[in-house]
Each structure stands twice: as structure tokens, then as C-alpha cells.
């Protein structure tokens, strides 16, 4: 059973009076533990696809099964619960809360889940160690470099031990060197079993992915390395 399964997904946005089709008849299935890069030119619908996969957005038509469960009919609070427990997000602009320390930012999902204080501290420390920033726990985001901020954001994404990591241009705001570090960190998490789906412009990162989904004008034009095709 695939972890994620999109069938005949369509998503249309109303832009003023005009209707823009961001996704047309998209069919994808992704197995647990895969490393997938979603690529394509700007406006091709790759971010919309990632938002749909991350349950931040709903399709107009089609069906999305996540771990065998049809999630297209869930209420927004039920979707929030699934996001909290199964999905970790990494954003291009980090999205750290500026007034909270690194450790507090990482703890946010645990706070939302209502995890007890002692357990929370233990898991934050674990996540900090995993991204190699234990000594930065008490720092505010503006006291950290871009690469460190993204590592903190990754620590926050993995602190709930999600089944999948969704990253939207995770290296887009970083220089080449720190970008490579972040890429390696994400890949090491993938090696440990977490599904990794990355939207990227970076051809280097695209090449490293074991599977590439190429989007053009809202249509999935190429699915290079789908397990079904490989087999």
C-alpha cells in the first residue's frame, strides 16, 4: 500500500474573475521512505501539489489517500491532527517564531499536541542533537545564521517523529555551501526511514533525489523513477 496516493486530483484557483488551473488530473503514489523531488518552472503547480500533499490545501476533485485513509473528506481540525502527527514541514523562509528561542520553536508541535513538560524537553534535546545545534538551544532566531535557522526548522519538523517530511525550497534562501549541509541533513533523515518530498529549483538537489516529478502547467509531465516504472 502506498503511503500517499493522489488520483485524478484537480485544483483551480479563482484569480479575480479568471479561473486558473493549478493542477489538472494529477495521479501520483509515493511509498514510505521514498525521496522525491518535485521540479518544474515557476507557476507550474509544484507548490500547490506540495500543499495538497501536506493537507494545507484541499483538491476540488479527485481523491487523496494518506496511509490508506481518504483524507479529502476530513474536517479542518481532523486535518490539523493528521498534520501534527504524521507530517513535518520545512519552508524556504524557515518560519521560526522570532520571539521564541530555538528550543521553544522546536517544542511548538509538542506544545500543540499537549506533551508533558519532561517528555517535551527530552524530545527537544534529542531533535537539537540530531541537527547538531545543542549549543544553540537558548538562542533567538535572529541570533542564528540562515543555515542554523533552517536546521532548527528541520528539528521542529522532526520532533513529532513524522512519517513524512515536506520541504518547499528548503535551500532557496541559503548559500551553496550551507544549502548542501541542509540537503545532507534532510537526506540523512530520509535514510533513517522518513519519506522526503522536496520542491526545488536546485538541479543539484533534484539530481540527488531518487525520484523526480516534473510539473508543467499544472500537469505531471514526467515521473522519473517511479517505483512501478523501475520494477
Amino acid at each position: 500500500m502506498p503511503q500517499l496516493e493522489l488520483s485524478r486530483i484537480t485544483r483551480t484557483f479563482a484569480l479575480g474573475k479568471a479561473k486558473v488551473r493549478a493542477l489538472t488530473n494529477v495521479n501520483v503514489s509515493i511509498a514510505a521512505g521514498e525521496y522525491v523531488a518535485i521540479m518544474g518552472p515557476s507557476g507550474s503547480g509544484k507548490s500547490t501539489l506540495l500543499n495538497l500533499l501536506g493537507l494545507l490545501d484541499r483538491p476540488d476533485t479527485g481523491r487523496y489517500r494518506l496511509e490508506g485513509r481518504d483524507v479529502t473528506t476530513l474536517s479542518s481540525d481532523e486535518l490539523a491532527a493528521v498534520r501534527r502527527e504524521r507530517i513535518g514541514f520545512v519552508f524556504q523562509s524557515f518560519h521560526l517564531v522570532p520571539r521564541l528561542t530555538a528550543a521553544e520553536n522546536i517544542a511548538l508541535p509538542l506544545v500543540l499536541e499537549g506533551v508533558a513538560q519532561a517528555e517535551r524537553e527530552r524530545r527537544v534535546a534529542e531533535a537539537l542533537a540530531r541537527v547538531g545545534l545543542t549549543d544553540r538551544a537558548g538562542h533567538k532566531p535572529d541570533e542564528l545564521s540562515g543555515g542554523q535557522r533552517q536546521r532548527i526548522a528541520i528539528a521542529r519538523a522532526i520532533v513529532m517523529r513524522p512519517a513524512m517530511l515536506l520541504a518547499d525550497e528548503p535551500t532557496g534562501n541559503l548559500d551553496r555551501h550551507t544549502g548542501a549541509d541542509v540537503t545532507e541533513l534532510l537526506e540523512s533523515l530520509n535514510d533513517a526511514g522518513t519519506t522526503l518530498i522536496v520542491v526545488t529549483h536546485d538541479p543539484l538537489m533534484g539530481r540527488r533525489a531518487r525520484r523526480r516529478l516534473i510539473m508543467v502547467d499544472g500537469v505531471l509531465s514526467d515521473d522519473g523513477g517511479a517505483p512501478s516504472r523501475l520494477s
Binding site: N51, G54, L56, D57, S76, D77, A80, A81, V82, R83, R84, E85, F89, F91, S93, H95, V97, P98, R99, L100, E104, L108, P109, V111, L112, E113, G114, R156, M160
Partner: protein, 402 residues
């Protein structure tokens, strides 16, 4: 999200935007302080007045000519509907009633008083010596009116402190002649300055024998008869006795109105209480305005933190989590404002007490409780709209904002 975490998150958010938080706290504080200080003032006035009245004693009954309420049908009401005069004989009869300790007729009017080459328009009170005991007048110098025959015009006059000062400056004026209208009287005493009393400002009065005043104003009717009952508990029985007496004396018709001091006190109490309430209501408007500001500030907060709301949603916050976070922030800031305003209001009340030592300007408990509750309620009520607005944000759109 647990309640403690929600509160902590909200507190961090409030502290993260200092200027916004200070403005909101200030707005709520001013509202609460206004309620506390103004009700302290209003209730202080009420207590002051009540104290003044109570210090006179509460076993007083006032008899006034005329009937202010409709009685039953009697021969008198068929024959005549003009009330009879209230006479000195009526007053004397009441004074002899068994349950009555003392009674004094009261005639009032304006006349000019001249002495020492000065002339002044002043209040004249015609009464008898027993009024001093009934209304607790204290004589500062000299003595009060002599206990003569009520019906004979006398020549003694007792003056209030203000009148003395204006006519005689530093001198006591005792033994001096004073001309009231066309009569020449001799000043025998000065009443101790007490300010406002039951029958007006005593300091600005000249007290003369009742018969003298009646002749002066050419009247046969008294303005009032002040009666002191023998016992405080027997005021109602005394009232009935006087009514019976007056009905007998006035041809079977009760054409006088009796007011007990308790009734008077109750009226003053309710009037001044209503005044305090009105003042509190006006002050509460500022709380409502503060509530609007809470809404405005929280809407700005949501706008500022749109990306953060998107993040919280992406991390799995439910709609109600987001609502609670923003509501908690509004409630927290309102509470801090309310506590701060309470302190400010108490400080202002203290200032009033220092400036006016005779005024017991303590804010009433109900006003303080209402102000604090209202501040919190308006914070929550006006915070709801922004919080719901935040919860309704589309996470994708919210995350795209910076």
C-alpha cells in the same frame, strides 16, 4: 494545547510586541481607573450626606401643610379642598402629645439684615428654642433663643457664622442690634459653623422667634413643624399619633403631610445611589471604548502575525487552538490593564480623600468588581472577532505572507 501552554504562549506573544501591549493595557487601565475613581467620588458624596443626616438622629418627623397623597372621601374633602394653615397652636398641641419629646415650629423666608452699617439679604428662620435640641445646633458664642411664650414676638436673634462674619467681621456681634426687615432685634448668640443641615445652610441664617418671623412675613402658616419622637423605635407610632391629633384639630381632615427622617434618608440614599450608578455608567463608556481598542489592537496583532498563524496551522494547531491563543492574549492584556487601572483608581480615590478629608471617597465593592469583570469581559468579547479571524485564515495564504 493545554491551558497553561496557551497562557504561556499568549504571554510571550504579548511581551513580544511591547508597544502594542502597553497601549492596550493603558486603554483598559484608564477605563477601570475611571470607574473606580468616579464611583469612589460618587459614593463618597452619598456617604458624606448620609452621615450628615444620621448625625442629627433618626427619630425626627416633619409635619408639612398640605397633602401630597390622595386620602379617602371625608366631609372635609367635600366641603373644602384648601388645606388649613399649620399654626403655632398646632405646633404647641403636637409638642404636648405623649409620644413627642419636643416639637418646634419652623417659618422660613428671605429678608434683609442690617447691622454695623452693613446690609445683607439673608435667610430668616422663625422657630423656638427647642429646635436647637431637635436639630443639634451648637452655639459657638452667647446662647440660643430664650424659651419664651411661643406666641409672643421676641427680640432675640441668633446668627449663623457666615452672617456674623459678613456683618461683624472679627467681632462676636453679641449684644449688638440687628435690623431684620422693619424689626430691630438683639443678637444673643452665634451658631457654630456646621454648613449644610436639614433645613438649609445654617451658617447663612438668622434664627428669630417664630412669632417674630410670622409677623415679619405677615403669615399665619408655618413652613414645617419639626418633631422629635421620644424613642427611636416609636417613630411610626408617633407619626400615627400626630396624624390623629392633626385630623382632630383640622375638622376631621388630614391636610398635612408627615415625613419621617428615615423616609427622607431613604430618598437621599436612593437619589445619591442612582447618581453614583450614573457616574459609573459614564465611566463604563470608557471601558467600552477600551474594548473597541482591544479589538483594533488584536486585529493588528493577527495581521502582524499572519505568517505565524499559518505556521501554527501547518504544525497542526486546530482552529480552536488559534482562537484560544489570541483570546488568551486579549484576556491577559485586559486583566493586566484592569489590575493596573484598579491601582490607579485607588490612587486617585486616595488623592480625593487627601484633598477633601471630610469626603469618605472609597470605591464601592460592587463598582470595583463590576469594573474588573467588565474589563475582562470586553477584552474577551472584543477579542473574539480578531481571534476568529485568525482561526479562519487559509494556512497556504497565511504562510505566504511575511
Amino acid at each position: 494545547m493545554t491551558a497553561a501552554d496557551t497562557l504561556r504562549f499568549a504571554a510571550r506573544a504579548a511581551l513580544g510586541y511591547r508597544r502594542r501591549a502597553v497601549l492596550l493595557v493603558l486603554a483598559v487601565a484608564i477605563g477601570v481607573a475611571a470607574v473606580v475613581a468616579l464611583t469612589a467620588l460618587g459614593d463618597g458624596v452619598r456617604r458624606y450626606v448620609m452621615h450628615q443626616f444620621e448625625s442629627i438622629g433618626s427619630n425626627l418627623v416633619f409635619v408639612m401643610p398640605g397633602r401630597t397623597e390622595t386620602g379617602g372621601l371625608s366631609l372635609g374633602s367635600v366641603v373644602t379642598n384648601t388645606p388649613r394653615d399649620l399654626t403655632l397652636d398646632d405646633a404647641a398641641a403636637i409638642a404636648r402629645a405623649p409620644l413627642v419629646l419636643r416639637a418646634a415650629p419652623v417659618v422660613v423666608g428671605m429678608s434683609e439684615a442690617a447691622a454695623n452699617g452693613r446690609l445683607r439679604e439673608t435667610h430668616i428662620v422663625g422657630t423656638t428654642s427647642s429646635i436647637a435640641d431637635i436639630l443639634h445646633f451648637q452655639v459657638a458664642q452667647g446662647r440660643f433663643l430664650p424659651a419664651d411664650d411661643w406666641k409672643r414676638p421676641g427680640t432675640a436673634a441668633v446668627i449663623g457664622e457666615t452672617v456674623r462674619k459678613e456683618l461683624f467681621d472679627a467681632e462676636s456681634g453679641i449684644g449688638q442690634m440687628i435690623r431684620i426687615g422693619d424689626r430691630r432685634l438683639r443678637v444673643v448668640g452665634v451658631i457654630k459653623a456646621t454648613g449644610q443641615g436639614l433645613i438649609g445652610n445654617i451658617d447663612e441664617m438668622v434664627v428669630v422667634p417664630a412669632a417674630t418671623a410670622m409677623a415679619l412675613f405677615n403669615t399665619n402658616s408655618l413652613f414645617r413643624i419639626a418633631v422629635e419622637a421620644r424613642e427611636r423605635g416609636a417613630v411610626a407610632a408617633t407619626k400615627t399619633q400626630i396624624e390623629t391629633l392633626m385630623r382632630a384639630r383640622h375638622g376631621g381632615e388630614l391636610d398635612v403631610t408627615l415625613i419621617t427622617q428615615d423616609a427622607l434618608l431613604a430618598t437621599f440614599d436612593s437619589v445619591l445611589g442612582a447618581l453614583t450608578l450614573a457616574v459609573a455608567g459614564i465611566a463604563a463608556i470608557s471601558l467600552a471604548v477600551a474594548g473597541i481598542l482591544v479589538m483594533n489592537v488584536m486585529l493588528v496583532a493577527v495581521a502582524q502575525r499572519t505568517a505565524e498563524v499559518g505556521l501554527l496551522k501547518a504544525l497542526g494547531a486546530s482552529g480552536s487552538d488559534v482562537v484560544r491563543v489570541f483570546l488568551a492574549e486579549a484576556a491577559l492584556l485586559s486583566t493586566v490593564g484592569a489590575v493596573f487601572g484598579y491601582g490607579l483608581g485607588q490612587l486617585a480615590a486616595w488623592g480625593i480623600r487627601v484633598a477633601l478629608p471630610t469626603l469618605p471617597a472609597w470605591p464601592p465593592l460592587w463598582a470595583v468588581a463590576a469594573a474588573l469583570a467588565l474589563a475582562l469581559a470586553s477584552g474577551l468579547a472584543f477579542g473574539t472577532l480578531p481571534a476568529r479571524h485568525a482561526a479562519a485564515l487559509d494556512p497556504v495564504v497565511a504562510l505566504a505572507r511575511h
